[in-house]
């Protein structure tokens, strides 16, 4: 090949290579930070191309918030099913309205609370395992609050009633069928 031809081909190759590499760079849709240290020219690698980095130990997990013994006991007890003087009341799927079949139990609860002036009642709201955890926390909260409002409407003093939701975290029946789910969509009444 003549020198002039070589140079023409060379320039063409160089131009194509640069267009190609620029074109490839345009395809990047995610921006990256400063380039990694580039290796030396073709054929050579140098230890200077190897960057050093220190990896720290992870922190110890930490003890968490200091909590008084009585509170810590209440925290652990939260995971246990507590005894109740009353039956649970049940709810329809994804609903929090008070059903007719709940009213006799609620009447009994109201009667007890009015007879025992100093009594304090915690109303727990629960859901079945279907649906997502966070939404079920809020649904359990609505169920407990729904029962609370109904009891207040029957004359129970508001100060005697508190609510807590456990969402789907504490099912009464561990089964995975409609029968178990119906039992788990509930409000549970615990005297404190």
């Amino acid at each position: 090949m003549s020198n002039a031809r070589v140079w023409k081909w060379g320039v063409l190759v160089l131009a194509v290579a640069m267009v190609f590499s620029l074109g490839c760079a345009k395809k990047q849709t995610v921006t990256s930070e400063a380039p990694a240290p580039s290796a030396a020219a073709a054929g050579k690698e140098s230890p200077a191309g190897v960057k050093s980095e220190a990896i720290k130990s992870e922190a110890a997990p930490g003890a968490g918030t200091k909590v008084a013994a009585a509170e810590a006991a209440a925290g652990m007890a939260a995971t246990e099913e507590k005894a109740s003087l009353f039956q649970d009341i049940r709810f329809d799927f994804d609903k929090s309205f008070i059903r007719d079949d709940a009213k006799p139990t609620l009447a009994k609860v109201a009667e007890y609370m009015k007879k025992n002036a100093g009594a304090k009642l915690s109303i727990e709201g629960h859901c079945d395992e279907r649906g997502t955890s966070e939404y079920n926390m809020a649904l359990g909260d609505r169920r407990a609050d729904s029962a609370r409002k109904y009891l207040a409407s029957l004359g129970v003093s508001g100060g005697a009633l508190s609510t807590v939701s456990f969402g789907k975290e504490k099912p009464l029946d561990p089964g995975h069928n409609e029968e178990a789910w119906a039992k788990n969509r509930r409000a549970h009444f615990v005297l404190k």
Binding site: V30, K51, I55, E71, G75, M76, S133
Partner: protein, 436 residues
């Protein structure tokens, strides 16, 4: 100089000069679907001193990370012809023809050295065609942090070939019932299922972990005092404080992008709405309200918009609104019950779960509500999606009759794996931000 020699020189110059012109050579277009995979060899690491198991452990972690991208295939080690020795990290070149002969276009080599109670690990990536090093790193740290070192080098490998930073050193926080335990505790796990760390230990319900934008802290709900409170735990120094104590039932949704506030769902007087709580003074204001359940905020990367769930239509659906303005748009049009939105950090899509055909599946949709697509489904419930910081993957829970695991799927749905199993009640996964 011969004609041939000149042409070769010019080609070599083109290859070398491209970095100088401001664009590096990227061998693989990370967004090209279904292309040929780059064959990479990852021979056993040289262990000059220290735990011999690391010789195989490092290649395994790196191979697992590269497998996530579906861009690479690892050439099986029984085909390797050359054994890696310490000299390869000094002045002895690899026998590149031996690697090219078995089809390995790239080779990853590594050397482990014990240094007191630490290890020093040098890793190099070679292009076997050009015979040059594309990336090199030397990490020093405690031996039990070897996975982190491997993940970081996998990030470098991905960058060298695609120009895109990897996220292999990020982690997933989640909530689960410990073995033989009660309640739920918060855990953090690496993307290969290793490096499992327990964050809480109070034997109550600890739920809904959510990462701060700098990756240093987790906000979560705990019943450790018997009532729900949202705490902020600093994972770097272990310190913790209560940050949301008003109202009753509550859950953290997401942090504001500037890290100064937490968007949380709180039930006040029996009504759950979304609030913004400032960390510096605990002041709070309602940002989404309604007579139904308003819950689960997920903020866009620029902090201006929010996806959330509202039950106002009679059952929960996902909506998007401009923060600070009234008015919103429903974006979930899959099933009768849609929750758990996760706004991709890439900004372009929102993942959520919806009940269709009696089970939950993960869908994604554009923020304007168009282009809804099914992403993940199975013979169980797929729920609680959370995007990776590059928007290329989604972690979610898969649950079937009381058995629950964490799964990862690529955003294009073409690759997936089980991330974590073995505990019961696994849920609420949250993918950490990129490490600094």
């Amino acid at each position: 100089m011969t004609g041939r020699g000149c042409a070769a020189l010019l080609i070599a110059l083109a290859v070398v000069l491209s970095p100088v012109t401001g664009s590096a050579i990227f061998y693989i277009d990370i967004n090209a679907p279904g292309g040929k995979r780059m064959p990479v060899a990852i021979p056993a690491f040289v262990v000059e001193s220290g735990d011999r198991k690391l010789s195989e452990d490092f290649p395994k972690v790196i191979a697992g990370d590269l497998a996530m991208t579906a861009l690479f295939e690892v050439v099986p080690s029984d085909a390797y012809l050359e054994r890696i020795v310490p000299g390869h990290f000094a002045d002895r070149p690899l026998s590149f023809p031996d690697w090219k002969m078995i089809g390995a276009e790239a080779v990853v080599i590594g050397k482990v050295e014990a240094r007191g109670d630490q290890i020093a690990v040098e890793m190099r990536l070679y292009d076997s065609t050009l015979g040059r090093m594309m990336a090199g790193r030397r990490y020093t740290g405690p031996p039990h942090r070897f996975r982190k070192m491997a993940h970081k080098f996998a990030n470098e490998i991905l960058y060298a070939f695609t120009g895109v930073r990897g996220i292999f050193d990020t982690e997933v926080a989640f909530s689960a019932t410990p073995e033989k335990g009660r309640g739920k505790e918060i855990y953090v796990v690496g993307l290969d299922g290793g490096d499992l760390r327990k964050v809480t230990e109070n034997r109550s319900y600890n739920l809904f972990p959510r990462w701060s934008p700098d990756g240093d802290s987790l906000a979560y709900t705990s019943y450790r005092t018997g009532v729900p409170v949202i705490y902020l735990r600093n994972l770097q120094d272990g310190s913790e404080r209560a940050v949301v104590q008003f109202g009753n039932t509550k859950s953290p949704g997401c942090f504001s992008p500037d890290g100064n506030s937490l968007y949380a769902s709180v039930s006040v007087k029996g009504d759950t709405d979304i609030y913004r709580v400032r960390f510096n003074n605990s002041s709070y204001e309602k940002v989404v309200e309604g007579w139904g359940i308003e819950i689960s905020p997920s903020v866009s990367p620029d902090g201006r918009k929010m996806a959330f769930v509202s039950s106002r239509s009679g059952s929960p659906q996902v909506y998007v609104k401009e923060i600070g303005s009234s008015g919103d748009r429903r974006i979930s049009h899959a099933g009768s019950y849609s929750t758990s939105p996760s706004w991709s950090p890439a900004g372009d899509r929102i993942a959520f779960t919806s009940m269709t055909g009696g089970k939950f599946s993960i869908y994604t949709v554009r923020p304007d509500g168009n282009g809804q697509q099914l992403l993940a489904s199975g013979d169980g419930d797929c729920a609680d999606p959370s995007y990776s910081p590059d928007g290329r993957y989604v972690v979610y829970t898969f649950q079937k009759k009381g058995y629950s695991v964490l799964k990862i799927i690529s955003a294009d749905g073409r690759w997936g794996k089980t991330l974590f199993s073995g505990f019961s009640g696994v849920g609420s996964p949250a993918w950490s931000p990129r490490n600094k």
